[in-house]
Structure formats: C-alpha cells, structure tokens
Assembly symmetry: C2
Homo-oligomer: 155 residues x 2
Amino acid sequence: MDEFEVRPGEVVGSAPDRADAALIFIGRIRTPFQSLRDCPRQGQMDGPICRIEIDEPWWQAMQGLEAHPELQVLYWMNRARRDLLVQVPRTGAGRAGTFALRSPARPNPIAVSIVAVTAIEPGAILVRGLDCLDGTPLLDIKPCRRGFTRQNEGQ
Amino acid sequence: MDEFEVRPGEVVGSAPDRADAALIFIGRIRTPFQSLRDCPRQGQMDGPICRIEIDEPWWQAMQGLEAHPELQVLYWMNRARRDLLVQVPRTGAGRAGTFALRSPARPNPIAVSIVAVTAIEPGAILVRGLDCLDGTPLLDIKPCRRGFTRQNEGQ
C-alpha cells in the first residue's frame, strides 16, 4: 500500500475500511521485474517470458488449458494505493479519474492482462505479455472470450 | 454460494478458508435479469441497457469516462461456488478445468466484461453488453486497453 506517491493535482479519497468479500491467492507470477521502475508501462507480446505458478490445490483446474493460445490473467496489485480518485499519469499529461485510467492505483487493484502461452508445465504456465512485479499474487486464469482479439500484436 | 449444483463428472476441491486480500464493493449493477435462468450465456452489445450505479465516495473517479465508448467492467459473482476444479457445461459437452472455462464458478469469482456506453449520468453509467444478475456488486471500471477490440460486435 501507499507505494505510489501522490502527485500535484491528484485527489485522494477516503476509501472505506471494510471487507465486502475475500480473495484467495491461488499462486504467484514470476517476472524479471524486481522494482516498479523495472516494470514496462504495458505488457508486450514480444516481452520476456514470465512464469505463472499455480498452487497445488488448483492443479486439476488447469485441465484443457492447452486448447487456448491466449489467456486472460487476473492478479492482485498488492503494492498499489486504493484511495486515489483523480490521478496524474507519470508523464504529467492526461489527468483523469481512476475509472478512466488503467493505473494500478484503484479501489480494488485487480489487473486484467491478456497473455500469449508459450508452454504449460505441471503447476505452471509460461507466458509473454505481463508487466507486473516479480511475486505478484495470482487471482484467476480464464480463456479469452470469443469475439475478442488483440488488434496489434506488438502494441 | 453453492447456488450452482454439482453435475456428474465435475470435481469439487477444498478451497482454503482464508482471506488473502479484501475487496470493497463500489456500487452495483442493475439489469433486467432477476434469476440465473434469465441471464444470457454471454452479454450482447445489442442486449438490454443496464445501469452501473457507483457509490458516492467514488463519483470523482468518473472524470474523463466520456472519452471511452467502451469500458471494461469488473464485478463479483457473489452467488457462484468457489470450489469447482473441473466443470461440465450446461450442455453436457466440453468438460474442462475451471481455468479453461469462463464459468462463474471459480476460486475468485470476478467477472470481466467489455460494455458499450450509451449514457453517463451523475453516479451512473448506462451500458449494453452485460449478462449478470440484477444487484451484482461492482468492483471496478477501466478503459479498454489500446490494441484490443471486439472482433464481432454481435457475438
């Protein structure tokens, strides 16, 4: 929490201190990015291979993953602050409300990324396209919805 | 929980009874779907208009939403069971692990949908493309990532 500084022009709210539902971490993501400074602004399909490690209780839930060359990965940005309402991007331009930005700082810091699968191992998936810190907690893996596609592979 | 029956061939695990992180509900989604039977299998961009209601503490975070004709909406499928590892779809065909399906039943029942915005009101967004129950808890709203698009609007 509070890893991200508040920049001039940003608006901090008072997020309610309550738990409406509980998340379970089901594994973790191993990436080459050891600090926020290392993380690219957005995952690239030609970026480094990252390793999604799934904890043993959910290994059976991996059945059939081999049919999906792309997956949607949900993870928990556990170092993001949750109380920013209006944010100023790093560049200084484009001040906007949190819901109009994909910044990690949001009331529920859940990231949604599409990844390209390069290999499936027992209890792990090797993928490209992630931009998160090494050790980031894993929440979910889903096949991509039919009807959606990545428009430009390199973007 | 446990709203969904277990079908022959499905595998039930023992999800750990712990909370690794806490979610805050930031509003709710009003839809015409009052029971699971009413819900379409997948949201349609020509489906009924639904109303995303955002609670007052986060109204400032809506600034700039008008720049985005499509949004990614995250919500909590609070009636889904969380302990299914292998599932058999309603049709009976296509038995697969939870991570190879977009079924609501999953360790962290977070839905991710792309919606088309039809209007923005104070504290609310009117959209098409949702398939969830009336009253579903809202978790997050994000702009769509550049480079992704809906391939077939009607699918």
